[in-house]
């Protein structure tokens, strides 16, 4: 197996609460790996331990063969991170921010190409405060790509976005995947996981309770004789909304 990330028996305790309780999983190069779960399941804490942001109580994280606890500085050079609530300096333009972030890795970034990647070239001279929610998240992904990371971490990138902005972001993530980038994404939207992820781990109360490709999980469920109680509707309100406001990638 060509694993780019190996997490074994990771634990984190806050007082009486075991926020992360023996989490293990591997991420293969080139795949989109989803961590699914309700709020408070321990997704973000898990991610932050992998990203060197939070001390690890016990367990081990190997990123591209490097132990995160032993060589955090080297790991930081390899990863791209979009934090759940990260924001950027107010008074720098998008292009200035990206080249500054590039400098932090000792790189001169092709700023406009990077903005193209997330479809923000026309906002190049704007400030982050002038962006909409979806644009902010897309910019945040661009900032996470400045060092051409081995692996990209996206923590709930679509939370709080409207359906159009969410679909727009999915498009961006799919394109990044098509370029061969490994992506780890957390979400609490099932449809998002189904749409984007090659494999998902479902987390609850600090534990991973399932880990397989989405279709595989659905197949397993059906094999147990599961049947939905009501007939599936052919369309839902979200489809109506999208139909009325325009399915295409309208600028959000």
């Amino acid at each position: 197996m060509n694993s780019v990330l190996e997490v074994s028996n990771l634990k984190k305790r806050y007082g009486d609460l075991l926020a992360v309780d023996g989490v293990s999983f591997n991420v293969t190069r080139g795949e989109v790996f989803g961590i699914l779960g309700p709020n408070g399941a321990g997704k973000t804490t898990t991610l932050e331990m992998i990203e060197t942001l939070r001390p690890i109580d016990s367990g081990c994280v190997l990123l591209d063969g490097l132990d995160v606890q032993i060589e955090p500085q080297k790991v930081k050079r390899l990863i791209g991170v979009q934090l759940q609530a990260s924001s950027f300096f107010d008074k720098l333009k998008l292009t200035e921010l990206l080249s500054l972030f590039g400098e932090m890795y000792g790189r001169q970034v092709e700023v406009l190409a990077l903005l193209d990647e997330v479809e923000l070239r026309d906002k190049a001279k704007s400030y982050v405060v002038q962006l909409s929610g979806g644009q902010k998240q897309r910019f945040s992904i661009a900032a996470a790509l400045v060092n051409d990371p081995v692996i990209l971490f996206l923590d709930e990138p679509t939370t709080g976005l409207d359906p159009q902005a969410r679909r727009h972001l999915w498009g961006v993530i799919r394109r990044i995947r098509s370029e061969g980038k490994t992506i780890v994404i957390t979400t609490h939207y099932m449809e998002e996981a189904e749409e984007l992820c090659d494999r998902v781990a479902i987390m609850d109360s600090g534990k991973i309770i399932a880990n397989a490709p989405p279709q595989e999980l659905i197949r397993q469920l059906l094999a147990k004789g599961f049947k939905k109680e009501r007939v599936e509707r052919l369309a839902n309100l979200e489809d109506v909304f999208l139909d009325l406001t325009g399915h295409s990638l309208r600028e959000d």
Binding site: L83, S87, L100, E103
Partner: protein, 352 residues
């Protein structure tokens, strides 16, 4: 090195684009000077002289009394010398018991080493009064000299105020600028985002500090320039010395700002703390008014305020032309404060 330069350039750009900050650091102090330029305070710029008269003669004192530039108090030798040491007198003149207007007795004049400009002026005035006395007794033709010397540089309130305002704005932009700036960066997760990049903490802090010190220097130069051009500031000191003292003061107040941002979680917590620290200094460090009017007990604490050192240092340089050696006590005071506050800042600083 390249990263440091880029970080500095970026933080400078951010500062320039922050209009509120520019108003706060440059225009507000200027506006205060402008407002105060309409105010005249008697007694400021006067030389305070203590006179101890052991003789029966009153003509000398009578001659000195009407001179407006002098603020004369009479008293016992011990008291007056104590007041001189405290800084309440620029000079103390002791008239010996044997003194007569026609005599040859020597008078003793104690000079306050902290106030070279005032003592110099005072000495000239006293000398002239004595000459006058001799001329009167001997009815000799008088040479019209020296009067110009005495009046050559009459200090106004602006001369007193502007260096004080300079010290004040260094304190305000250091403490408030840094404390608020960093708490916002911290609270909004901007620092946290930097933490996942390989950037070194020291690089980031150095960039921030040097940008702000650069702004402080610009502030010093602009205020002095405007003072000289528009407010008849009698600036006779060296700009270099002003900047040295200003930078040392800036270091103290930036460190206080960093320490405050370290221990506070939000802007709401920073504001009262910052005010708690700056307000007493603003009132009692001699920014607006001469500290010699403060009661004795107040001196015990306020003498050691960093803003007192900064304001006195800048003022001596600006209007008395003091050298760095002359302001050594102030430099030492500020140096001790920078060590203390830097230590606290490093201990208290937090990324998240």
């Amino acid at each position: 090195m390249r990263l440091k330069a880029k970080l500095m350039a970026a933080s400078f750009k951010m500062f320039i684009r922050q209009r509120e900050a520019i108003i706060w650091t440059i225009l507000l102090p200027l506006f205060m000077v402008f407002l105060f330029s309409f105010v005249t305070f008697d007694g400021i710029g006067h030389v305070s002289v203590g006179i101890v008269n052991h003789s029966q003669d009153t003509t000398l004192v009578g001659l000195l009394r009407p001179i407006q530039a002098l603020k004369i108090s009479k008293g016992q030798e011990e008291q007056e010398l104590a007041l001189l040491k405290k800084g309440d007198r620029a000079l103390v003149l002791v008239i010996p018991a044997s003194f007569q207007p026609t005599g040859q007795d020597s008078l003793t004049l104690y000079l306050n080493a902290e106030k070279p400009q005032e003592t110099q002026t005072g000495k000239l005035i006293l000398q002239r009064a004595l000459d006058e006395l001799v001329f009167r007794q001997n009815h000799l033709p008088r040479h019209a000299i020296r009067t110009e010397l005495v009046n050559s540089r009459s200090l106004t309130y602006i001369d007193f105020l502007l260096p004080g305002i300079l010290a004040m704005s260094i304190m305000q932009s250091g403490v408030f600028g840094v404390a608020f700036g960093f708490v916002v960066l911290k609270k909004r997760g901007i620092l946290r985002r930097l933490l996942v990049t390989p950037i070194k903490t020291s690089d980031f802090i150095i960039a921030q500090v040097s940008t702000r010190l650069l702004v402080l220097m610009t502030q010093v130069l602009i205020l002095i320039g405007v003072g000289v051009l528009f407010f008849h500031l009698h600036f006779i000191g060296s700009l270099f010395n002003m900047i040295i003292v200003g930078l040392l003061g800036g270091t103290v107040f930036l460190s206080i700002g960093f320490a405050l941002s370290g221990i506070s979680k939000s802007e709401d917590q920073v504001a009262p703390l910052a005010n708690l620290i700056t307000l007493p200094m603003l009132m009692l460090s001699g920014v607006f008014f001469d500290r010699s009017n403060l009661p004795g007990f107040a001196h015990v604490i306020t003498d050691f305020f960093p803003l007192t050192y900064l304001a006195n240092g800048l003022r001596s340089i600006a209007i008395e032309g003091a050298t760095l050696t002359d302001v050594f006590p102030q430099l030492l005071g500020l140096a001790v404060w920078s060590v203390i506050t830097l230590f606290i800042a490093i201990k208290a600083f937090r990324w998240e």
